[in-house]
Subunit: 343 residues, 2 copies
């Protein structure tokens, strides 16, 4: 690593830190029999989430928010709505909650701004929209969807993406909208620690809280979406895997994935597309394909994080190699299942 | 399509136009026996390249430039250099040539600026670097490489990427450096046509000239790289497939791909990773895997363009579904093979 730290000490943000491994990484694939007829799987980020760090109040609030998102997504699907609508609505709710690193509650960049990334994809048509480095859009997932539906383009970055929001009529907000005291304090702590150490330090917490959803509707149509504020103290317009179609977000006719974690490794492994490819071409059960990529390939390179995955047969997979991942699923019975730790 | 043209007529650029299909799309896979022990495959863009549109002088200049790039890449590999170095050098040469839509010679955005994208990836390590929307960097491929080698990050976008160039010591230039009269005229023609039509028109030529290279070195290490100026008259920070790892650029231990064409479709199909996945998991010959994706999947959605691909066994594939693709390869014998049309 010495060489990589060469000239750009000032650049280093969280991605540099070796993620702390959980005490025991689950070593077997998840229950491959977990399946729904139709429904929704969501995540609210993966990382060093431990019972010691999570107050009972915060844990309860997060669980309730995830359950609410699942119920609202379910309601859309129950009345015959599309997987795209369910994914969109669910992610909007999580963006609007300050509990997650997306929309309000997004982490701060080194410069004290918020730069948001999001992507959405429809499996049946492969229609996709992706935005990166957005600063003024209340719900980046809605901008990604507007891009997908009302333009011929798939990806917009930087100031241009904000400019497109004006044309597309997507709601914009003042920078103060994204402010939360907790995220601001995280940046101040980070900056103080950097100054004390004379270098940029990184902790795994910096990137906690990306949100995502995958859904399967009555017509067996799949969709996937992801939204994030990226990493605390990030610089230079850094973008992780969330808005990279095939890495953090992907859906086709048979498989949909949203990822969360150490974005650089997720990009290098084209995680979302890799899982779908192994399922389709190696004919692995979805849980096995997702397990291999997350618990084997990514663990080998300290690529901390996890994914949620859903296939057209309703199989659900939610593997993660970090101590925790905020996650949940809901099937046709309408009962939300919310989990945080290995449970 | 009517709905998609709704509010954002002003947004439409080339991606909207149905690409004109070539009179006869090659229907069989390329010679699967084309293989080298080590060497290099390059492209200089795909699109409506026809003998009628290409003057003999320009054709000769392009052929000579491609041959020169192949020879220089070969020289690096011949003396034991890495595939990464060969890819880097080749792409720098093509960026420095005004004949291609990368580096100087890049097309102009709607605002009369140049916004450049590039990505590079090393197969053995999956190390990768990607930059999008760069405005001041002479050789975007060198910025992508600096990012890969000297930071923990994979992707930087917008103004931040230019700021990183300062930190990384990558050569920057004034905007005038990218200016070529031909590209400027293309923008003026486009703007005039728009004004006359009252809407944004698009022609397949707008996106011609992306450059890319894949190489296999003596150690059987693969690398891939791609660099582009995007599409003439593009707006809103539009990014195509070139800098999207897994779409326009990808390399792993057994397969490397660089793509060129209608970027939106290439992103949706995760083209580069898809080809490598079919080769690895379906055990298809590389030529067959590349043929299926380019000549079948992409043709179905009017996704005009092509790829260059190389595997660790030295198999070469260069399928394209457009009338032409500037391309070539060179093996251990040091003889450059340059092609433009279906030949």
């Amino acid at each position: 690593m010495a060489r990589r730290f060469g000239i750009t000490l000032a650049l280093l943000v969280t991605a540099c830190s070796a993620p702390s491994r959980p005490a025991s990484v689950p070593s077997s694939p998840q229950d491959p029999a977990l399946a729904i007829r139709w429904g929704l799987v969501i995540h609210g980020g993966a990382g060093v989430i431990t019972r010691a760090k999570l107050t009972p109040e915060r844990e309860a609030a997060i669980r309730e928010m995830l359950a609410q998102a699942l119920r609202e997504g379910h309601a859309i699907l129950a009345r015959g709505g599309s997987s795209l609508d369910a994914v969109t609505r669910t992610i909007v709710l999580l963006e609007d909650s300050p509990l997650f690193n997306a929309g309000t509650g997004a982490v701060f960049t080194h410069d004290g701004t918020n730069e948001l990334d999001a992507a959405i994809m429809v499996g049946t048509t492969r229609a996709a929209g992706s935005v990166a480095g957005v600063r003024t859009v209340k719900n980046p997932i809605l901008l990604a969807r507007a891009l997908m539906e009302r333009s011929p383009h798939v990806m917009l970055v930087g100031a241009g993406a904000d400019a497109f929001a004006v044309v597309a009529g997507v709601e914009r907000v003042e920078p103060a909208y994204f402010f939360t005291p907790e995220r601001w304090q995280q940046l101040q702590d980070k900056l103080a620690a950097e100054q004390a150490a004379g270098a940029v330090l990184a902790t795994p917490d910096d990137k906690l809280g990306t949100v995502g959803a995958v859904a399967l509707d009555h017509a067996r149509g799949l969709a996937a979406g992801t939204s994030t504020g990226g990493t605390t103290n990030k610089r230079y317009g850094r973008v992780g895997d969330s808005p990279v179609i095939g890495a953090g977000t992907y859906a086709d006719t048979s498989c949909a994935v949203s990822a969360t974690g150490h974005g650089e490794h997720f990009i290098r492994h084209a995680v979302a597309h890799e899982i779908c490819a192994r399922r389709a071409y190696l004919r692995l059960p979805l849980a096995r394909a997702a397990h291999e990529v997350v618990m084997e390939d990514l663990v080998k390179v300290d690529g901390e994080g996890g994914v949620i995955a859903l296939d057209r047969d309703g199989h659900v997979a939610m593997p993660f190699n970090s101590p925790g991942m905020y996650r949940g699923y809901i099937g046709e019975d309408g009962v939300p299942h919310v989990m945080i730790f290995v449970e």
